[in-house]
Amino acid sequence: MVETAKLIQGNQAIAEGAIYAGARFFAGYPITPSSEVAEECSRRMPRVGGVYMQMEDEIASMGAIVGASLAGVKSFTATSGPGFSLMQENLGFAVMAEVPCVVVNVQRSGPSTGLATKPAQSDIMQVRWGRHGDQIVIALSPSSVKECFDLTVQAFNLSEKFRVPVILAADEIVAHMRENFTPPAPGELQVIDRKKPTVPPEQYKPFEPESDGIAPLAAYGSEYVFHVTSSMHGPEGVSNNNPANATWKVSQLHKKLELYRDEIVLTKTFDVEDMDILLVAFGAVTRAARAAAVEARKTGIKAGVLQLVTVWPFPDRELAQLAGRVKTVVVPEMNYSGQVAGEVRRVLGPDPDIKQVNKFNGQIITPQDILKAII
């Protein structure tokens, strides 16, 4: 069957992208503005042999997807601000126990209950640092309905390949926006499945990395019997309080992503070849930044855009390389404190003129808002 273009919402595209990537378990708790992901999964999962579970809260949702993933099924959840806060402890579990899964956080305006139905980009630091303990995470941020689909597939791929939870840091604008979208045919996008062990069952150690830095993951119910804990553990998966072991384990959690940094960090650039001003944007605001760059060029100001498709690990090298060509860098983002602007300063140092465009009233940043900072 040839798929034709459909007018669909970002949240629907996330659900469809997950199913395309092979997800067959969704556990979640309703919350605006992410609920359509759950609704779509409730309709689609039983038709594709999957399971939709509406849990009692987001704590349970996060726990359930970790359990399902360890039973060998690609799993995900979707939430927003308050729910994302509740998920942090068990998200940390997934980091420590190296359990592949995807967490969609459709960012909304805070703090706390805030403007529950309005967009924001104010969870960027929570995505990075929201859990206790030292760790790194992968987070991707879509700017369109198509990217909602594509980056969900990508999130699963990275998650499966590196045995990590991946966060899709969407925002209310892309989640509720409707655009024409043609779903890719099966096989059109790459779909990666986690590496399974090949050693005899009695030799399997669930946390022992192979030469590529990644440990294969068996499934409960397979011929491999294994023990998983989020307490400090050695390669065999049982508790180990030895300081040398802790050094190894925490380093391993970092190194396995540092090793593949270039594969994980994704960016897009627009009109950067001859630019004098660089706009650094992510998520829905990328659209305003691109429109602003086009408008600026009409007045003779050569503006270009760097879109941070991956927000964590932060695209520091890509940014530094482009910023070397300009005197001014502008960072528009829907938060007060300049969560990404702070990272841009950290990477670029004091030399370039870094301007912030911040809006935190639940309204979208417009191209005009950005143009005011340029012109």
Partner: protein, 272 residues
């Protein structure tokens, strides 16, 4: 048939057990492993899921698959496992603080959903691992490290909660009544749908010491005297019942479990 020892499910290289002398956890562990043996459970198709607390360390001593989770959330993790692989035997080991205090919400909803898990809640009436603070099952007026003048709160009846929430099987045992406990665990493992065995168990290190039952023997005597059948309990009137609790099977039903219901939903979805 020779007597089941359960030894083949015991990780001997993890011994000795980390629990205090006089703790009841070893007796519950033995009853569980014997029940595994009597039912012919395999290591491959069994997952033991634990939370955090003294009893939550039990997975360290069991040869099956295991998942040691966060405090209070074991049932949520177990729910995900069972939902995607109904063939697995999923056994959830929690204490009173873990399973029904911080984890109370998950406990209610696992029972309501009637997901085919077996929860074994060891109730030692306090948080043993953190030093004997009061939990939701600490009896009123009892002394703990955070109720120096007596507990102002009332205790929760775990079995009654599981029963009204919809569990298919509910039983309460004690570590004094070892053989009956093993039978309850076996029945619970065999039951499709959510099943709960509450095991009243001594914590001589904290709860006993704080409540004039310093020795493990005193605590076992307490279990022997205060754990009574439903008939015995119902013969008592008013204040006579104080301090006594019912042991035995308290609920036994066959409502369809979550996975069975979800299969029906799948068939409906595909029929549309």
């Amino acid at each position: 048939m020779s007597h089941a020892t359960g030894l083949k499910y015991l990780k001997k290289d993890s011994l000795p057990l980390m629990w205090c002398s006089g703790c009841g956890n070893g007796i519950v562990l033995a009853a569980l492993l014997r029940a595994f043996e009597e039912l012919g459970y395999g290591n491959h198709n069994t997952v033991v899921v634990t939370g955090i607390g003294c009893w939550g360390k039990a997975d360290d001593y069991i040869t099956t698959n295991a998942l040691h989770t966060t405090h209070g959330r074991a049932l949520a993790f177990a729910t995900g496992i069972k939902a995607v692989n109904p063939k697995l035997n999923v056994v959830v080991l929690m204490g009173d603080g873990d399973g029904v205090t911080i984890g109370g919400n998950h406990f209610i909803h696992a029972a309501r959903r009637n997901i085919d898990l077996t929860a074994i809640v060891v109730n030692n009436c306090n948080y043993g691992m953190t030093g004997g603070q009061f939990s939701a099952t600490t009896p009123a007026d009892s002394f703990t490290s955070t109720t120096a003048y007596g507990n102002p709160e009332r205790e929760l009846d775990i079995c009654a909660l599981a029963g009204v929430a919809g569990a298919n099987y509910v039983a309460r045992g004690t570590v004094y009544h070892g053989r009956a406990l093993q039978n309850h665990i076996k029945e619970a493992l065999n039951k499709k749908g959510f099943s709960l065995v509450e095991v009243v168990s001594p914590c001589p290190t904290h709860f006993g010491r704080n409540n004039k039952m310093k020795s493990a023997v005193n605590m076992l005597r307490w279990l022997k005297e205060k754990g009574v059948t439903r008939e015995e309990y119902e013969r008592m009137t008013g204040p006579e019942k104080n301090g006594y609790f019912v042991i035995g099977k308290l609920a036994d039903r066959n409502a369809p479990d979550f996975n069975t219901r979800y299969e029906e939903i799948r068939a409906r979805a595909l029929g549309q």
